[in-house]
């Protein structure tokens, strides 16, 4: 086994060890953080988990009048179909 091999094996052991150590610490730190926040803060209206890397669409910008007209149109439509 040449030097590169032993270096690579070393790197793998230390590297994976460290990655796991770091992320395990993070699991506990995150859990602790969540618990502290949940305990010491007033319950707030929580946002449900969003789909990542996608921002919520901007709200359809329709002015008040339009919205009103549309609501009426919908209401009208429903009323008619009930008949």
């Amino acid at each position: 086994m040449n030097e590169l091999m032993s270096q690579a094996i070393d790197l793998m052991i230390v590297g994976m060890g460290f990655v796991f150590a770091f992320l395990i610490i993070l699991v506990f730190a995150t859990g602790l953080m969540s618990r502290i926040i949940t305990r010491y803060s007033p319950p707030e209206p929580a946002t449900p988990a969003r789909s990542p890397r996608a921002r919520p669409k901007a709200p359809a910008s329709v002015d008040a009048d339009t919205a009103e007209a549309i609501k009426k149109a919908i209401a009208q439509y429903r009323t008619r179909h009930k008949k």
Binding site: M1, N2, L4, M5, Q7, A8, I9, L11, M12, V14, G15, M16, F18, V19, F20, A21, F22, L23, I24, I25, L26, V27, A29, T30, G31, M33, S34, I37, T38, S41, E44, A46, T47, P48, A49, R50, S51, P52, R53, A54, R55
Partner: protein
């Protein structure tokens, strides 16, 4: 007449080398894959185009002023450079291809101060850095572009699913085995005598297994800049191929029953937790792995801007105008490294093979880790979400979802897979930090 000859002897057709021709074809292939096959087009269109530009004969777009000066080989310029680069040459001596090779080699091996001096000499004689060389210097050599993109990615990332189920961080850790396994693979190839790698090169190749573009570019720009072109191309190509690479491995390692495991709905995550998380990650980085601070720091900064809710303007800009501008120049700069003499090499073949292996190993380890965790915990997780730990956000999570739906059409794993998916980003940045610390 003399001017016509100047034009002809300076034309691309007259000077086109076989290598340049092949590399222009490679550039066209990348454009084809990006445009027709949808392979990560945001990066591969600029990379492919930059690759073509870099290989236009005589234009020297990817060369520094000194390299351009050597290329044109005027005796007085070479005489001035010979003193700086310590190549034996006297004004008047014939300029042979061997001599130019000697100059090129001396420049390649020169230390920082000598490179600076050669640059001053070349610019004094009127040579200038090529456009792509300038882009590369500003965007990649400075380290800025990958970090700014990572900031943008941070401000596009939602850690909600991860916060709802922090255990999935471990899946992101396991999948990084792809990185270190590949380093071992490169060492094996070197040992077997198939091709040569140094430990720096092996580590840079391994980072492809992180399945994260900016991390790959950042690490290889530090550890092995000459391989950056091949590594970036491999990383983005395989990320695009995730829907083909992963499913067979996932199915081979899981039973139908395991694939059908339904996971309980994720708990809602409060705004405060979202704000605190990037700070927790930052502090952990500061305490345990300062060498990952540039990558994870910028990533957390982007995420904090996203979640804190008081800097919407900055968050919007970092995930739109800023990331787009930087992506254009990052892509062209990566393309500048697709020159024939660096890319058309046996090593590139090794990089492609090892990169593919890295993805496979990472996928497998993620799945196996999920199965291992199931052996110890009460609340079972569907092992299919383990494969998402390689990152390749959000492609790998979608693959988990799709394979899950094949097994049980009512089982939506997408949200559950997003946890390991973003954990994979953190995991590979940590792995990058370890490698920079130990080898950089």
């Amino acid at each position: 007449m003399e001017k016509l000859i100047t034009l002809w002897t300076g034309s691309g057709l007259f000077n086109l080398s076989a290598g340049q021709f092949v590399m222009i074809c490679v550039g066209l292939l990348l454009l084809f894959l990006a445009i027709r096959k949808g392979f990560e087009p945001l990066l591969l269109v600029p990379i492919g185009f930059g690759g073509i530009l870099a290989n236009i004969p005589e234009a020297g777009l990817a060369l520094s002023a000194a390299e351009n000066a050597i290329h044109f080989g005027k005796p007085d310029v070479l005489a001035a450079l010979s003193a700086v680069l310590d190549v034996s040459y006297q004004a008047g001596q014939a300029v042979t291809p061997d001599l130019l090779e000697a100059f090129k080699h001396a420049y390649k091996e020169a230390s920082y101060d000598v490179v600076q001096q050669a640059s001053v000499v070349a610019q004094t004689y009127g040579y200038t850095n090529g456009m792509l060389y300038n882009f590369y210097t500003v965007a990649i050599a400075s380290g800025a572009a990958p970090l700014i993109i990572f900031m943008g990615v941070g401000s596009m990332t939602d850690f909600g699913p991860l916060l709802a189920n922090p255990k999935t961080l471990l899946l992101g850790a396991a999948a990084q085995f792809g990185i270190f396994g590949t380093v071992l693979g490169a060492a094996l190839l070197d040992w077997s005598g198939t091709m040569d790698f140094t430990i720096l090169e092996a580590a840079a190749v391994g980072i492809i297994g992180g399945a994260d573009g900016p991390t790959s570019i950042y690490v290889s720009s530090i550890l092995a800049p000459h391989l950056l072109g091949a590594i970036a191309v491999a990383a983005y190509s395989y990320m695009a191929l995730v829907p083909m690479i992963q499913p067979p491995i996932m199915k081979a390692l899981t039973s139908e029953k395991e694939r059908s495991i339904k996971m309980s709905q994720l708990r809602p995550v409060s705004k405060k937790e979202r704000i605190a998380f990037p700070i927790v990650v930052l502090i952990a980085t500061a305490l345990f792995l300062p060498d990952a601070a540039p990558l994870l720091g910028m990533f957390c900064f982007g995420n904090l801007m996203r979640e804190c809710g008081v800097v919407e303007r900055l968050s919007d800009t970092s995930q739109n105008a800023l990331i787009n501008i930087v992506t254009i120049f990052l892509g062209l700069s990566v393309g500048s490294k697709l020159s024939a003499d660096k890319f058309l090499d046996l090593q590139t073949l090794g990089i492609l093979v090892l990169g593919m292996a890295a993805f496979c190993v990472g996928t497998a380890c993620g799945v196996l880790m999920a199965k291992l965790m199931n052996a110890f915990t009460k609340e079972k997780i569907n092992p299919l979400i383990g494969s998402a730990g390689v990152s390749a956000v959000p492609m790998a999570a979608r693959v988990s979802n799709k394979v899950g739906l094949d097994a049980n059409p009512h089982n939506f794993l997408l949200m559950h897979a997003m946890g390991p998916n973003v954990a994979g980003v953190i995991g590979s940045a940590v792995a990058a930090g370890v490698m920079i610390k130990l080898l950089g």
